[in-house]
């Protein structure tokens, strides 16, 4: 053996392995980051070729408006899934927050609160507070009592739906004030208000998750809760916070939905949690936690919106839309799996 040839210092990983894992990193990162973007672009190009109506301002705004509610829910869901959790309650919270806030903003004396209608600002605050309330309950169950997120939020899915039906006595809350309806039907410079709100929620979440201490802690707590705890991160507080964020955003989405339809329906939002989860998963956020980005969620939500819209335009039955959505979800997770295998 030769002493002079070998570099002093600890034996290190073979360069081969390092290089290999790095190359793999680039390839998967590329697929991860741009796979669904490419899918979205290809889909949009195809649709604009096959249907002259697709690429009109009106239709684009329509897609964005239809996407905004699912998009807002999906962004809240992203926080939760990043911490290895899941929030199944958002669909029910949409209805609960819608109905309760609507009660403060209806001109109907039967369905409304005594003394109403109240200013829209108060009604909105109430709706957000409802979401924060349900989110806090879920968060405490998960963070403090270690109830599996699936179970805690499944319980809330049922309970919040029941509370909605009780509060509304099983009937819609009709005749909302114009100022309340503005968040669903208004526009700023021609852009529908739901789209504006969605954009603001998205940009704020992008900043929070990628550029703040809190965001860093969310990723750490999801990536390895034990290591995060040892590093002085209060993992429980982070878990509580993400359910509150998801709940608050579900409340916001519920009010936009009620405002758009003009009355708050106690049956609103059924199965919305599934579309929200689908958007997150398609967007490349790992259900195992710690990996993902709201930008992916945005693309995931848009992809679902464009698929629905495109199939509508082409006159395809809505039954097929569900099949295609299913294929999309599984294809996206397969991508996620291949990434995890390499890691």
């Amino acid at each position: 053996m030769s002493n002079e040839s070998s570099q002093p210092g600890p034996a290190e990983q073979a360069p081969a392995e390092k290089k290999d894992s790095q190359a793999a990193l680039h390839v998967t990162a590329f697929a991860q980051r741009f796979g669904i973007v490419i899918a979205l672009v290809v889909l949009c190009v195809a649709l604009s070729i096959f249907n002259e109506y697709f690429l009109t301002t009106r239709n684009i705004l329509n897609v964005l408006r239809q996407t905004s509610i699912n998009g807002i829910l999906a962004i809240g869901m992203t926080y939760v899934i990043l911490t290895r959790g899941i929030d199944l309650s958002v669909g029910s919270v949409v209805a609960l927050a819608g109905v309760i806030s609507a009660a403060f903003a209806t001109t109907s004396s039967v369905a409304g609160m005594a003394g109403g209608p109240y200013p829209a600002g108060l009604a909105f605050a109430v709706g957000i507070a409802v979401g924060i309330g349900t989110g806090t309950v879920c968060g405490i169950l998960v963070a403090r009592f270690n109830v599996p997120a699936f179970v805690a939020t499944l319980g809330m899915l049922s309970a919040a739906r029941g509370l909605t039906l009780i509060a509304a006595d099983g009937r819609p809350v009709p005749a909302l004030t114009d100022s309340y309806r503005w968040i669903g039907t208004g526009d700023i410079a021609g852009i529908p208000l739901p789209v504006v709100i969605f954009a603001m929620v998205f940009l704020a979440s992008w900043y929070v998750l990628s550029s703040t201490r809190f965001g860093r802690r969310v990723y750490a707590a999801g990536g390895n809760p034990h290591a995060a705890k040892v590093s002085g991160i209060n993992v429980r507080r982070i878990r509580l916070a993400v359910y509150i964020i998801s709940g608050a955003l579900a409340g916001l989405a519920g009010m936009i939905l009620a405002a758009r339809t003009g009355s708050a329906l106690p049956q609103a939002g059924i199965a919305y949690e599934l579309d929200a989860i689908a958007a997150v998963v398609i967007g490349g956020t790992s259900l195992a936690g710690g990996v993902g980005h709201v930008a992916g969620t945005l693309i995931g939500a848009l992809l679902i919106g464009v698929v629905n819209n495109g199939l509508d335009l082409m006159g395809v039955e809505s039954y097929y839309q569900q099949v295609i959505k299913g294929v999309l979800i599984v294809a996206a997770v397969l991508l996620d799996q291949s990434r995890n295998r390499r890691a």
Binding site: S5, A11, A16, K18, T212
Partner: protein, 493 residues
């Protein structure tokens, strides 16, 4: 004489054009234990994965009992009598020992009904033949790590394995538990099996192996009889240069008490533990697995709830309910299992390094990317972490470098007291010495080091005093002059 059980010549394997294994050679005889030695990245893992049929070789021959073989899958390797006992065992905890041994090939009766009685009998007969004190009906989840390994060995033999590969089998064992394993290895030898033994613990290799083969940088370096070599020889072959000393110790303890523990209790029955630690001192904690070392560290660091006893830090009485408070007070804890509790594997080197110092590299409204980058680069340079960029996922680094990232994370918090729980576990000889140097430097610069270890050599080589733990209490405190292997083991057992 029979053909050797396994004979490998000129094995090669490249990943993406770069050779991980350039010249793998190995020769395993019946009834012997053959140690495969080498640092991290020496090509051992690549070699083993090829033997096991997990990866396909680029060139070279493998002869199994004189017959040329090519394994495309682990199942084929198993069919040729090659079985591996992996470093991280993966039992099905809710199943019994017998169910685990016969997983996937349970004896069945009519209608596919599992014949539990026959399965239990066969498993028990096997365990008894090997002299393992394990009941076939025990649940896997209730067994110690050492017993789990014995079950794995039994499982390997139930497949009629003749070549048994053990990858770092003692990394999770204390010394008395390791003895159980060694007994089992002797039984395997007596039955004419061949054992390929991989371990970073050289004293163990000298104790148990008959032959050795050393790889370095993907190539065969030397092979021979263990009886002909010393530990120093092995280190020289593995590292590629003579390592003047295995340990590195230059710190001088002072009389100034920095941390004083009085009568504390901790989880898992740890009771009435007292000790003082001084500025400039490396204080060791020796004991068997489960003797309470980790529990004391967790209690100190605010990871388990407060119980009886007082902790005095720099003359101030403290109680930490939360690791964040401990970190603010100048404590740092390098946990035993870096994958489990030290690193976020899928996060970048930079994010891992900054994880315990977030307030220092941010303000409440946002992170300071430049401060984060500078901090990460400072640590990468200070510890010589080998990574192409600090944005690389930490899972892409070698074990020794990952451990340095954990150390870097804690040095970034500017600690006064550095707590290290088994800091060199699963780390190769060269990287070990760097960790010793880091500890020694830290203590020399006025820090206090608490270090637990299951290796008597490491305790003897590194610490100024040692607290010996047994069944959750302190069974003795020895000064550097008083420490010897016999006393340590005597106090711990």
């Amino acid at each position: 004489m029979d053909a050797p059980l396994l004979e490998v010549v000129g094995l090669q394997k490249s990943f993406g054009g770069v050779a991980a294994l350039k010249d793998g050679r190995f020769r395993l005889e019946r009834g012997t234990v053959h140690a495969l030695c080498g640092g991290n990245g020496a090509g051992k893992s690549t070699f083993l994965t090829i033997i096991m049929g997990i990866q396909v070789r680029d060139a070279g021959t493998i002869r199994c009992k004189g017959e040329d073989v090519v394994f495309a899958t682990p199942r084929e390797a198993l069919a040729h009598g090659i079985s591996i006992i992996e470093q991280e065992l993966s039992p099905v905890p809710a199943m019994t020992v017998a169910e685990n041994i016969f997983l996937g090939r349970e004896p069945v009766r009519a209608l596919g009904r599992v014949d539990f009685r026959r399965m239990n009998e066969q498993a028990q007969a096997l365990l008894d033949r090997l002299g393992f004190q394990i009941a076939a009906t025990d649940r896997m989840g209730e067994l110690s790590v050492a017993k789990l390994q014995l079950v794995e060995i039994a499982k390997a033999l139930s497949y009629d394995a003749e070549i048994i590969i053990m990858d770092e089998p003692t990394s999770a064992l204390g010394e008395s538990e390791a003895d159980q394993l060694f007994e089992a290895v002797h039984k395997l030898k007596a039955e004419g099996k061949g054992v390929i033994y991989v371990s970073h613990r050289l004293s163990e290799i000298l104790e148990i192996a008959d032959h050795y083969t050393v790889f370095r940088d993907g190539a065969f370096v030397e092979a021979g009889e263990i009886a002909d070599v010393s530990k120093t020889d092995l280190i020289r072959m593995i590292v590629g240069r003579p390592l003047s000393e295995e340990f590195f110790k230059e710190n001088r303890p002072t009389d100034e008490v920095t941390l004083s523990i009085d009568g504390i209790d901790a989880s898992h029955g740890v009771h009435d533990v007292s000790f003082d630690a001084h500025r400039g001192e490396i204080l060791g904690f020796y004991g068997l697995m489960g003797s309470g070392r980790t529990e004391i560290f967790e209690r100190l660091f605010g990871l388990s709830e407060c119980r009886a006893g007082t902790i005095t830090l720099q003359g101030r009485q403290v109680q930490f309910n939360d690791p964040a408070e401990a970190i603010d007070s100048g404590l740092a804890l390098v946990t035993e299992d870096r994958k489990e509790s030290g690193l976020v594997l899928l996060a970048s080197v930079r994010n891992n390094l900054c994880m315990a110092s977030l307030p220092a590299v941010s303000n409440p409204t946002g992170m300071h990317p430049a401060a984060e980058r500078d901090a990460a680069h400072r640590m990468i340079e200070m510890f010589g972490i080998k990574t192409s960029t600090d944005r690389l996922e930490v899972s892409g680094l070698s074990g020794g470098n990952q451990q340095k990232v954990v150390l870097g994370k804690w040095f970034l918090t500017n600690p006064d007291i550095l707590i290290l729980d088994e800091p060199t576990r699963g780390v190769d000889v060269g990287a070990k010495r760097e960790i010793y140097r880091i500890m020694s430097d830290f203590a020399s610069q006025g820090g206090t080091v608490l270090m637990s270890s299951s290796e008597t050599d490491e305790i003897i080589g590194m610490v100024d005093r040692v607290v010996v733990m047994k069944d959750g209490t302190v069974s003795g405190v020895l000064s550097r002059e008083e420490i010897d292997a016999e006393t340590l083991v005597h106090l711990a057992a």
